[in-house]
Amino acid sequence: MTQRIRVQARRRLVNVLLVPVLAIASGLVVASLFILLTPTPPLEAYGIMFTAGFGCEEIGRCALLTTLERSTPLVLTGLSAVVAFRSGMFSIGQEGQFVVGATLAAWIGYTLPLPPVLHPVFILVLAVIGGGAYGFIPAILKVKLAVNEIISTIILNSLAVLFMTYLVNFPMRADAGSTARSPLIAESAVLPSFLPGSQWGVGWVLAVGAVVGVLFLLWRTVAGYEQRMAGQAPAFARYGGVQSGRAAIRGMIISGGLAGLAGGIEVLGVSHQIVPGFSSGLGFDGVLVAILGLVHPIGVFFVAILFAGIRLGAQLGLQVSAQIPRELGGGILALIILFVSAQNLYVDLIDRVRNRFSRRGTTTDD
């Protein structure tokens, strides 16, 4: 009996690890058909892409560090999506919450003079609160009025972006002459980086801390347990005395806070100001990272690095060295997600292969 359980657990682990690997491989194979349209052969192109995205020749020109820096907002928005999904809210409002956090950070960053360490801490706390408050809106609408959270978060995203565009064009505009942008934040508010010439720094450490925090919250606390139950089996949770509405609201506040933190870190650590269209690259990346990371914090951490690396490799490697449009990176990621979402195909395939090679009746039970 115990052996059977162990076999099953092992099989699940194999599926969890094998499915993304197969999906990535399939995505790369299909994308190579598109590379055939360009002068560079696919294998060479992939070599260039991965060196430019993940390579690290010397500490001064280390692509991997840039990838880690760029993975920071993806890790945080991905975690934001994980927490929301796990509490039963299919929120795609990360972009709006990110924009709220970023706008607050940019605003406090240049208006409020504070001493060095206190300044970024205060700003990030405010960004978390702002994002959390913005995440609270769809949650309360869903719980009290049954308003579909997907739709409300889409609308809230465009509201946040429009409002940010207004702020940057008018009250927060740095100077009337040039293009619309907010003033640079004060030196005291900048998040320090580890190496000169790189922006990989404290922000990334905070993101890693958030991974650990979400892991702990969801799997080691009662609140997290309620959260997951409310997300996975609402009826069971209600029967067990969990107030699934409250769990969903709590989940959305945390989710919004994480996305707001992402916005704050992006401004304090990387961009130091906001401009119109500041968040347009972000879009649904957080949701996609969460899905590709199998809605798990650890998965999100690695998938965010993969995402950032492929994007960077496509930008610096494919486009600059191989004359292949960098958008192929987005195409590859989309294909990988397509293959992950069709994972039932793989699970069937893996099971069939395993059945062929397994002895005894370990495969009959399900």
Partner: protein
Amino acid sequence: MIEFTIDTFVVEMLRSGIRLATPIILAAIGAALCHRAGVLNFAIEGKMLFGAFFGIVAAFWLGNSYLGVAAALIGGGIIGALFALFYLRYRVDLIILALAINLFISAMTVFFLRVSFGAFGSWTDPSIEQLPDIHLPLIESIPVLGRLLSGHNLVIYLSWVAAIAAWLVLFRTKFGRHIRAVGENPEAAESVGINAARVKLFVLVTSGSLAAAAGAFLSVGHLTLFTSDMSNGRGWLGITAALFGLNNPIFVFLAGLFFGVADALAVRLPTVTHIPPSLIQFLPNLSALLALVLVGLRGPIRTRLARRRRRGRRGAGAGIESLPPTGPPATPTIS
């Protein structure tokens, strides 16, 4: 003289509002059909972008803009059918599928633009002709209304026809009843012999075609060029407008028009006032959110009213206990 310019300003703004509303309306009618069948179609944004790209490329290849629009209609329908295949046959999660398709189309249109035409960001060719405006003989001569209703291109009229046709299909035909039945309760619909898969295939193909037509309107009908990500959130606005219009094609049409006119205002008002354009674009989004809240409030309020009425009667000792229990009304699955 002043009166004349204000009049021209308003009419011109409304005309531009109609033009800006057209892609939103087409997308919204497709979305409303999907919602009625209980399908949340988030790929509309991507299909619109695909239509914009494929429409102008087909117009270039075939040397005719009308053929370009037709090709976009067919292409969008095929993508909708593929979408339905993955969803119905392979049980792929529809939302994940849609987000992946949106990302794929957004990336690959730019990729092909550069690989096939060597264009960076945007592309056009002098041989591509804009869709001509059609002047309606009699209506044209009506004073103000004529300038609003006449002189638009084919796709604009198509969006009006689509709204009416969708309303007729949904509320005046047996097939429309089937669509609504599948949306409200798929099991019950199946149990009385309605083919739910066929209904879903129909709405996905139709919404794909309509979204692609919206895209073709942007590229062939409006600007005669393609730029990267030129759908620019209009597909999402369409989904919002569908919900704002309670998935009733006529209301959806008006909601789309509201979005379009607000866009036109945002473009034109800054020339005469000091109201910032992004705040005007705020309006339709904010009203959509308020509409959702109102739709949500409708349920609890109705229940409370019914309860109060029942209690009142019981208090008065009328003895009528036979009022049907008015729970929250059967709200459509997507509201």
